[in-house]
């Protein structure tokens, strides 16, 4: 199963990607031959039942993991063979992550959490603080920059996480069930925020199993048993 028409300038291309986990003698084919192109500015919802390989796919796309077989290209550059340092560098420069359980660092303030990518990019403190405050404003939390994550609600924490994911101005935003730990109303707030970012031209890849959440996306990818079951491509 592939897309109806080839993409002009794909951000990401997958060619027969497999991810196999070996547990003793047993073999789990988390991804079993996935080939797909993701275009610039597209907003994808990755769906499927539990254990279908959604998170595995997102981790691969996020360069947190390498495929067992197949090729994975970012802007035409093969990433599958890169070493740990190069993958880290790729994440730092081009990717932004949003997680289901927010994953903020508890001992750092909101501002410092948002600054984290800039810290590793080597920005000077004054500039990165400025940018962090600006991003906090973008997600409506300018008044909370000096708070600790524990002092914020779940929705606010997720907004901080989004601000942090945006700090390095990534080409691709990756979100694994970003609304999974939030109530419906808060979840919709977050989705509107992602929708806005999509509107501004960000490429977003998001895992979810809620159809209402998926409806915010422009494209949908349905997985089952590590294979592409169905693609909903508006074009």
């Amino acid at each position: 199963m592939t897309r109806a028409s080839p993409v002009e300038d794909p951000v990401i291309e997958l060619h027969a990607v497999r991810k196999i986990y070996r547990m003793g003698t047993e073999e789990v084919r988390a991804l079993d031959g996935v080939s797909l192109q993701f275009g610039t500015g597209e907003f994808w919802a990755v769906m499927g039942p539990s254990g279908s390989g959604k998170s595995t796919l997102l981790n691969l796309l996020g360069c947190l993991d390498v495929p067992t077989a197949g090729r994975y290209l970012v802007h035409g550059e093969d990433v599958s063979g890169l070493d740990d340092d190069a993958l880290s560098h790729l994440r730092l420069r081009r990717l932004g992550f949003i997680f289901q359980s927010f994953h903020l660092i508890p001992q750092l303030s909101v501002r410092e959490n948002i600054e984290l990518p800039l810290y590793y990019l080597g920005w000077d403190p004054a500039h990165s603080a400025e940018r962090a405050v600006e991003l906090a404003g973008l997600v409506g939390l300018e008044s909370r920059v000096n708070h600790r994550p524990a002092e914020l609600s779940g929705g606010q924490q997720q907004r901080v996480a989004i601000a942090r994911a945006l700090a390095n101005d990534p080409e691709i935003l990756l979100a694994d069930e970003p609304t999974g730990n939030l109530d419906t109303a808060t979840g919709e707030q977050i989705m509107r925020l992602l929708g806005d970012l999509h509107g501004q031209g960000k490429t977003i890849l998001m895992v979810t199993h809620e159809p209402e959440i998926a409806s915010f996306a422009s494209h949908q990818l349905h997985l089952r048993d590590g294979r592409i079951e169905r693609i909903e491509d508006p074009s």
């Binding site: 947190l64 730092l92 994953h103 001992q107």
Partner: protein, 423 residues
Amino acid sequence: MMTRRVPMLREIRLGIRTLILHKLRSLLTILGVVFGVGSVVAMLAVGEGASQEALRQIRQLGSHNLIIDSIKPTDEAVAGGGRVRMVMYGLRYLDEARIREGFPAVARLAPAKIIRKEVRLGATRMEMRVVGSTPDWFQLVRRPVVAGRVLTALDEEQGTAAAVLTEHGARRLLANANTLGQSILVDGKAFEVVGIIRSAGGEGAVQTPDQDVDIYIPMTTARRVFGDLTTRRTAAGHEREWVELHAMIVEARELADVEPLAWGIETMLRTSHPDGGYQIRVPLALLRQAEATRRNFNIVLGSIAGISLLVGGIGIMNIMLASVTERTREIGIRRAIGARRRQIVRQFLIETVVLSLTGGLIGVGLGLFIPLVITQVAGMPTVVTAWSLILSLGISVGVGIVFGLYPAARAARLDPIQALRHE
């Protein structure tokens, strides 16, 4: 393509903050290093104090000097029994002449006759060591002159009845600067007090040629007035002692001459005194020995301190391993954001070094304080040297690096995905 490095200062500040977050735990963690470094500094201070004291005492004897003492043989070796015993031993006038003439390396030589006699000044009387010597004595055993003068070549030539007191001796005899020029009775013979010099002082382990309470008279006078034979009353009867010279201080021209000279004199004396009766002391050799002892002492102390530092280091490693486990998620987050393994290693290593260095600084404080207490309470001299502080701080940084490396490597090796899943 690599990113710019994060400035060290920011990492250090972050490390300090993380550690302040767990104040009590951090404090308990560094106790081992605190005591380790504290004992290194304190023990080195005690060791240094002891060795400087020893060096001071030995230097007092003069590093260029040899001291030859006459030794009275033990009773069994003394020939003849009965009520009147005659003992003859020790250095001879001939030995003095031979040493003066036979060894070009000799710069100066001060022979000494040392006899115990009763000394009287006015109504006060006490037994004192009467030292007959030449003016060179005062060059080789340098003591500041408190009043008057020391013995001169003229005194020696003419055999005057001049006497020089030590400060302590003068005090006991109730003598002072006004006593100069007055007459003093030594074994009933009249002498004129011409000067008072400072006493040897110090209750050191090293025996100086002079003593606290001495009276110095010209050698020629001592020979003429008291002679070589002394009679002493003992429980068994009388004991008569024939001793020409009780001691000699020999000064070598060069430091390098000291030990060959000692060896040469030893060889010479062994031939002329086959039964012994003398002893050569070489302050330079004692000095060398003291330095060797100090080295060994420091090695032993260092090992003990090393063990406490090792224990301290293991304590730090233990806590850092716990911290890595506790902060697995944080590590996962940092890695997902794009931190390289090396940056994670740095982060944890810096935290560990901040910990151990803090321990080291507190330990130095402790190590500066303990010697003060030791000096106050035990009266032992202590000296804190700058290099011992630098060494201890260096060691504490080293401990941090050595014991922080494994936890930091563990943190960096974590798989980001697993780390993020960690609860």
